[in-house]
């Protein structure tokens, strides 16, 4: 008999405590971000698709066309072509294509790149209606970059 009343009182008290918590939260400011009117800055390590790094001194990339990124990619996203040109030691990069629709952002390409020629970009709001828009030509992108 005594348990009957203590159960009711205990239950009622827990309900009132719950109500007070939500009522208090009602008066606090919202924590959401009103995208797209406001947007966030991505952190420096954010993993967007890869891009060639522009070396400040030479003004161009440092890729030596070894093809390690192409070999180590699990999803076969990267296609590289390097040519032997006269007067230049080693191969010269002619084509660097990334198929971003298959990329899983694992970072194996960057981890295996000896000269450190590629890095993650910070692009995140990519949207398109065609698959071709995500086949990036990284050499062209490097030339257009400042």
């Amino acid at each position: 008999m005594a348990g009957y009343f203590t159960n009711i009182l205990g239950g009622a008290k827990s309900l009132v405590v719950g109500l007070s918590i939500t009522q208090r939260q009602f008066f606090k400011k919202p924590i959401t971000l009103q995208y797209p009117w406001e947007s966030l800055e991505m952190t420096p390590r954010y993993r967007g698709h890869i891009q060639l790094i522009k070396n400040a001194e030479s003004g161009t990339h440092q890729c030596i066309s070894c093809g390690m990124c192409e070999k180590s990619c699990p999803s076969d996203c990267i296609t590289i072509k390097g040519e032997k040109q006269e007067g230049v030691k080693g191969k010269v990069l002619v084509k660097y294509e990334l198929d971003f629709t298959k990329c899983s952002l694992c970072g194996q390409c960057i981890a295996n790149c000896k000269p450190g020629a590629i890095e993650f970009s910070r692009e995140y709001n990519l949207a398109s209606t065609r698959k071709e828009d995500f086949h990036y030509d990284l050499l062209k992108r490097l030339k257009e970059q400042k």
Binding site: L19, I21, T22, Q23, Q25, F26, K28, P30, I31
Partner: protein, 337 residues
Amino acid sequence: MDLGINVFEVFIYLVGFIAFAAANAAYLVWVERKGAAHIQRRTGPKEVGPYGLLQPLADGAKLMSKQFIIPEGVDRPLFLLAPIMTMVPAIMIFVTIPFSETILARDFNIGLLMILAFASVNVLALLMGGWASRNKYAVISAARVVSQNIAYEIPMLIIAITIVLITGSMNLTEIVAGQAGGILHWNLLPTNGNFLGPITFIIFFICSMAETNRAPFDLGEAESELIAGFHTEYSSMGFGLFFMGEYANIVIAAALTTILFLGGWYSPLPETIPYAGASSVAWFLVKMYLLIWMVVLIRWTYPRVTLWSLLNLSWKILIPFSLFNLLASAGLVKFLG
């Protein structure tokens, strides 16, 4: 001449009630969405109109523009009748509710009985809606709704009888008149003869939430278990009518609670204080909307009860308390003379 004025008055009240019910149903959705959003630390509707105030109109337009799909094999008469039977009694009840001394469609001597009678038709409508849709989820939910509503009508009726006992009449205007004179005379407190005072108010409030199938008692439309319960198969205005009927029922339940316990249109302060002490429809609406805000807050705070807890709560806790209250109040009324 007499007939002409009466017809005009009837017409005004008719249009007024339908407009009031529709506006409430629409804008209570806005209140609920904004309230839920701020409880959850987000913003809620804000694009359509300032602060999202035109959102219900956009929703209404969207609902009306959808196709009303009648699945094959449903019981057509019942399927089409169910949403209508939810909405029509809800609007009919407004005839009996007094919003102030003068704003009153008809002064019935059995006003309280009429409200409770019309409110029970809702159960039948939900059962029809669930049964007629040829859908296992809908049938399960309809069965749950019937047992829930039957169980929670009983304490509600017992408490209503207690109030009638205290006041001596079923006339809603007289029930409110018995609570004149400030907060100490309300039926909320034992001064009038209501023995368990605030506890009966809480019991009545819980029962009215259960009667309108409102969370945490929303087993009928448990969204995460049964998709949408008894209105799974309804689209467009069929769903719209169920939706509006639910909000109209909430308004009626809040209005009834205000009349029975919170002194209707009388102010809580004594009448001698100017402005704030005067009784008016504004006080009625303030109390009604405060109760509605409590309903919204409760929905977004608690999880759903199980079927057994629901029935246990009613049969083992609410009914004994309300029966005890009935007997004790009878004694108290006798004692108070």
